[in-house]
Symmetry: D3
Subunit: 68 residues, 6 copies
């Protein structure tokens, strides 16, 4: 399946922190950039996310704010 | 001002495309990653965005989807 | 690729309307529900979206508001 | 009050899971589609959400990603 | 209908600008705050939005970034 | 740094509630408006948010829904 989301950054999971409902996932995409993703705990478990996993961080272009 | 947004990716504007209401901005953050940001035309003009500008792409962590 | 987005609704494209920067896409998911998706024109062209296409509408659970 | 949000899917709450800050709500909208909504615990309590409630899932069209 | 969205700011429409797909709406909520909302042109027309209308700006709490 | 986010509401923090992964922050922006922001606990700690802090609530215009 091809996605409309313009931003698809490949990286590796470096940390998974589970709460009761949400999970905080760290993804190293390239030196020096790390992406923080907050998803449901349910999704983190469903994907079986763990340190070292190769993943893709998807971000819709309307969600990006620009600072200058 | 320090921001709560976890993801702050530095890059350079490589393209600015203005519509009537929205604008599509391309930001090269690091080989081989380019970020597409859609902001209001009003914001693009207000920031005076143009090719070559050093900018920061801000993304709240709740907006990131993970693919594996 | 498996996605963290909890909501993945299958449907058929019933209309594609292109603006200068954005595109408005109608997707019939099931009687009587139609999903409206606004994506970049660039994405609509990149996916080659047209009436009759079988597609999936992906929505992150943090984007849903509940009315009661 | 009439809302600008294009997507208003009617359904029934099938599960409510409360965390410390957030809540995960399942809404069955139509066979075979279930919507997952993550809202604040405060909102879930304020609406008094419980299994069996008739609710509406509201999604702004800019939040929808298309997969094909 | 009562909504889960925590932020519901009442105000008056001060400007409506229509593009091909999107619309930029200005809402004065209280001195000195003006809210800019970008919605689909379709929604703006469907609500019949025009200068002077009393409206409510709804914002889900997960969409707010804090600067300090 | 100047931001593309159209909505920047100044206010004062009136409550901070931390969960395992997320935090619920109340910001009084002007009588009678209070903004609720849900950010990561990590961000709340990183900004050292506490009652009485002067902060800014940033909201991208595409995230605003209009009710009329």
């Amino acid at each position: 399946m091809k996605l409309s989301a313009r931003n698809q950054l490949e990286g590796k999971v470096t940390n998974v922190e589970l709460g009761a409902v949400m999970a905080n996932i760290k993804i190293e995409i390239s030196e020096p950039n790390t992406i923080t993703a907050v998803i449901t705990k349910e999704s983190a478990e469903n994907l079986g996310l763990k340190e070292g996993d190769d993943v893709c961080a998807l971000i819709k272009s309307t969600e990006v704010i620009i600072g200058k």
